[in-house]
Amino acid sequence: MAGQSDPHVSLFSPPEVEFMAEDELVEIVPNMRMDPLNFICGDFGPFYPQIPVKVPLWLAAALKKRGKCTIRPPQWMSIENLTKVLEGEREDRGTFQAVPFHYIEISRLLFDHARDDIPDIYMVRSLIEDIRDVRLHKVETNLEKFSATSAVKIAHLSAMEVNVVRPFVVRALQAFYKHDNPVLMVDLDSVSDRQSHVTRQRQMPNNAQKQPLKRR
C-alpha cells in the first residue's frame, strides 16, 4: 500500500521521510562511462570515469551498491565541521545550529551504503549521534518553556526532528489554544469518553449543540 502511515504516531513514517531526503544531491565519482540519464525527476550525467558529478542520493546509493562509483561525503560531514556544530549545540542552549534539513537521513544512507568512502567513519558517526541527542534534548527542554502562543518558530530544525516532535507539539499547542479559546475549540473531553482512543482523532463531530445521549 503506497505509504499510509499511522497518523497518531507521526505524520510521515521514517521510510517516507527518507524517501523525501533521497532526492538531495550528493557528489559521486563514477568508475565507468555511462550516457546521460533522462529521468522523470531530472536529467543527470553523462558519466565519465573519475569525473565527479552530482546525482540524487537514491541514484548514488544504487550505483554504489553495484560498484559503479564512490560517493564523496558532503562537506558538512567532515569531522572538523561536525565538531564545530556539536560544540555550538552544547554551548547555545536556546537555539539550534544550522544543519542540512535532511542531515539525519543523508548520514544514515551514507553510513549504510558508503562506509568505505567516509574517512574516520566511527568518529563521524559518533559525532552525528551526539548532535542528534543534544538537539532532541534541546527540543524537549525548550518545549517546557512554552508560553501560550498561537505559533512556535524553531530555526534550523531538521526534517526527522520535526516529524518526531510533531505529535507532541501539536497536542501541546492545541491544549494552550483550547484553554485560551474555550468556545472555539471542539470539546475534546466529551468526545474522548465516548469513543476509544484510536478513533478519537478520526471522528470529530462539529460544534453544534448535541442532544445529550444517555451516557452509560
Binding site: I40, G42, Q75, T95, N206
Partner: protein, 220 residues
C-alpha cells in the same frame, strides 16, 4: 547564530533547488507532502497529475523498449527505479486524498468550496461512498431505531444541524516552512507578525496559513 555549514555552495544549491523544483516529480512531491500534512482536502492538482501520468506512461514504454533492445541491465534498472519513485508519489497522493474523502465524505459533499476541490472521479467516488454508507446504516441500524432517529446525518429530528457528520479539525497546528526567502504571517493574538525565514520551521494554526499553501508556504 553560526550560519556555518562550511559548504559555500548553499547559494548555488538554492538556485539549483529552484530549477529542480520545476520538475514535475518535485511538484508532485510537494503536492503529496502538503496533502498529507493538511487536515482538510486541498485543491486537486489536475494538470500536474495529468502530466505525471503521461510521463510515467511514456517512461514505462521507454523502459520496455530498452529492455527489449538489450540495453545494459544497469541502466534499465536505474530507469525503473526512477519510474517506481514517481509512481509511488502519484499513488500515495491519490491515496491520501481518498483517505480524507472516506473520513469526511458527508462533510465534503455538503460543502461547496470543498466539493469543488475534487476531481471528477473523486466526486463519483464520494457519491458512491455516501450511497453505500447510507444504505448500510439504514439496513443494519437506522431502520430499527424509533422514527425520529432514523437520519444518517442527524442524531434525531430535533437536532438543529447535521451533528452526526464528522468534520476535519481545522483548529490544528501545522508544521511549515517558507518557500521563498521570507514570509510574514499575521497572527491572531499579537500585532507583530511572525517572520519566517528559509531555515525556520514554524508550528502555526492551520487557519493562518491555509490560503498560502503552495504559494508562500510548504507544509513539512
Amino acid at each position: 547564530m553560526a550560519e556555518d555549514i562550511g559548504d559555500g555552495s548553499t547559494a548555488e544549491m538554492d538556485d539549483y533547488e529552484t530549477l529542480m523544483s520545476t520538475t514535475d516529480a518535485e511538484l508532485l512531491k510537494t503536492a503529496w507532502r502538503n496533502e498529507k500534512a493538511a487536515p482538510e482536502i486541498l485543491q486537486f492538482q489536475a494538470q500536474l497529475v495529468k502530466r505525471a501520468k503521461e510521463q510515467i506512461q511514456l517512461m514505462e514504454e521507454t523502459v520496455e523498449e530498452y529492455e527489449e533492445s538489450g540495453m545494459d541491465p544497469l541502466t534499465v534498472s536505474l530507469y525503473q527505479m526512477d519510474l517506481d519513485r514517481a509512481h509511488f508519489l502519484l499513488r500515495s497522493y491519490l491515496r491520501v486524498r481518498l483517505q480524507k474523502l472516506e473520513k469526511y465524505m458527508f462533510y465534503i459533499w455538503k460543502n461547496e468550496s470543498l466539493w469543488s476541490r475534487l476531481s471528477d472521479p473523486e466526486k463519483m467516488f464520494v457519491q458512491r461512498c455516501i450511497d453505500d454508507m447510507e444504505k448500510h446504516l439504514q439496513e443494519t441500524v437506522l431502520s430499527k431505531l424509533p422514527d425520529n432517529y432514523q437520519s444518517v446525518r442527524r442524531q434525531s429530528v430535533i437536532s438543529e444541524e447535521d451533528d452526526m457528520v464528522p468534520e476535519p479539525q481545522l483548529d490544528t497546528f501545522i508544521a511549515c516552512k517558507a518557500r521563498n526567502r521570507f514570509v510574514s504571517l499575521r497572527l491572531a493574538d499579537s500585532e507583530r507578525p511572525l517572520e519566517m525565514e528559509r531555515h525556520d520551521v514554524s508550528f502555526v494554526l492551520y487557519k493562518v496559513i491555509e490560503d498560502k499553501i503552495g504559494a508562500d508556504i510548504d507544509l513539512v
